[in-house]
Amino acid sequence: MASSAAASNPTIPSLNLPPSQFARLQPHAYLLAHLSPPAASDQPSVRANGRATSQFRVTSANAGSLTHTNGSAVVRIGDTAAVCGVRAELLHTEDIASWSVSTASEAEAGNTSQKGGSKTEDEEDRDHVQDLNLLVPNISLSTGCAPGFTPGAPPSTLAQSLSHEILSLLHTTRLVKADDLRIWYQPPNLESEEFRNAGEGMDVDSEQTGGPEPEIKAFWVLYIDIMIISLAGNPFDAAWASVLAALRDTKLPKAWWDADNETVLCSDNISDAQKLSLRGLPVSSSFCTFEADAAAGWRSVVIPNADELKSQAQKQGSQQRWILADPDGYEEGLSQERVCVVVDIEDGKTVIVKMEKHGGWAVDSDDLRQLVDVSAKRWHEMKRILDQC
């Protein structure tokens, strides 16, 4: 046993522990030994899981396998697995308290909340999708996905934060178009005859010739539920990818207002159904920072200024810090600093839609620029995977 351990991991020859034990007892030293092998050995710097620092785990996506959903997907990123199901339900405008309410400024502009003529399509989308709560994502970690999450307990802080982040990202990317969710009704032109009889007295006539304006009678509400079935680090990327794949798979039935029954009816004919037309393909990539000196944060050493930190990194021969792409659970446990970059590529140009970092003071401009490049590469990979599923 011991000899095989030494063979596979020459950096810790003095220990007679099998690697798995060493990994558990001295996690920090174990990962460090992998990342900074002695210069003498020809070992490349790899992570304990065998990946290069900017390498993501094997990712697979499979869409449309769940029977009772409008769209669904299973995404596996390494050992982290997310199942997402999208269910569409109807929100009648009569059930919306604010529907019959308009602010005076809108009313003066000659518009009701049903149609904001001066607004751009994007703004209107934001109003409807966001103000009416048309997107309802929720993440569940109470699936036994990892130890530490009590099944049946209310959502943990992590689950709540993730749900919020998904919702927030859906809103900022405006991924779902409000128009896909609207159910319009064209009232019959009953009054047209009366108008004609009334004669020339009506100045508004010219506008009315087209009959009454179409009105929105209902909206589709998308309940997006994400079950993290297995959690081995980086839940956000997996959850977001599953949401993206599920929404790409989502078909909404053709729906219309049935004036006789005063309700919305749908067609179950699949050829009538419409796929959602999403705005872009924002792909999320998460990273964490592993510090060579785990105690640097609290040891009695002066914290160097940002500039000094930079020059230090250049001066010192050995690397002090590694930014690990798509961290697994083991690596997440060993690092504080997190980065999340969400990019989309439009016409070959990288557009950043979200960039977050917190939990440390090491990552700055230079690193972030590299991470954006890594994320752009990841975008192409994810696009290929999502296009195939």
Partner: protein
């Protein structure tokens, strides 16, 4: 533009407290810190070597939800970063920060907390200072928006933030580190670098000659300078009796 106002140790019961008002965004935050204290029922979850920082954000005219939990996670990670949780009396104890939004609009469902984040960070930091929680350094933060004409706006109002193409909150330590970045919207990296440079000059002052420690060299127009002045004023008034005798 009217600058922010803040004062320290305004409450009686809490170990440390502060109020922070940002006229540009309209937000007023009251903050309180208790620590080091025992955290009940979480003994197993506490780090044995370190203090546990807990953050609770309470909105002004609504009940908190998932959005608050998300921003708490961020605040905890940024402020927890500068707390020296291994100092005497702190390991295995809690530092409990409560942030009460007493003025300004509510954050809408599913909206990011970006417009509030700098005010929350400053109020939280000042309360920590007021409670004499050991810190490795201080920080200052700024909200920047990019308009559709590409202009960078400092502390846009909630309405202006809504129409911004991208929004960025950066927190910079008193030693110039980037402690936090939260960017949303649509932008490219070159724009962000402009934002980064702008944030540094707003937080640390344009005339930053690198010698921050001395206090004299600091540009008081900077956010960092404002934090320093606020703390200094409070110390001077608390030790007026001492200073009189000098």
């Amino acid at each position: 533009m009217v600058g922010p106002t803040a004062s320290l140790s305004i409450l009686q019961r809490a170990d440390g407290s502060a109020t922070y008002k940002c006229p540009a965004t309209g937000y007023t935050i009251l903050s309180a810190v208790n620590g080091p204290v025992e955290l009940p029922g979480r003994r197993d979850a506490l780090k044995p070597e370190d203090a546990t920082v807990e953050v609770f954000v309470k909105p002004g005219t609504t009940t908190g939800g998932v959005g608050e939990r998300a921003i708490e996670t961020t605040l905890k990670s940024v402020l927890g970063d500068i707390v020296l949780g291994r100092e005497k009396g702190f390991p295995r104890r809690g530092v409990v920060l409560t942030l009460n939004i007493v003025g300004g609009e509510n954050v809408e469902r599913g909206d990011s907390y970006l417009t509030l984040l700098p005010a929350l960070l400053h109020a939280g930091l000042l309360a920590m200072i007021s409670a004499s929680i050991p810190l490795s350094m201080t920080l200052s933060a700024v909200l920047l928006g990019v308009t559709d004409s590409g202009e960078i706006v400092q502390n846009p109002s909630p309405a202006a933030a809504k129409s911004a193409v991208s929004l960025h909150v950066l927190a910079i330590s008193s030693k110039d580190h980037l402690l936090l970045n939260q960017s949303r919207g649509r932008f490219d990296f070159d724009t962000w670098e402009l934002i980064r440079a702008r944030a540094l000059s707003i937080c640390q002052g344009a005339a930053n000659d690198g010698d921050v420690a001395m206090g004299e060299g600091t540009n008081t127009a900077s956010v960092n300078g404002f934090i320093r002045e606020t703390a200094e004023d409070q110390i001077y008034s608390a030790y007026a009796h001492k200073l009189d005798s000098i």
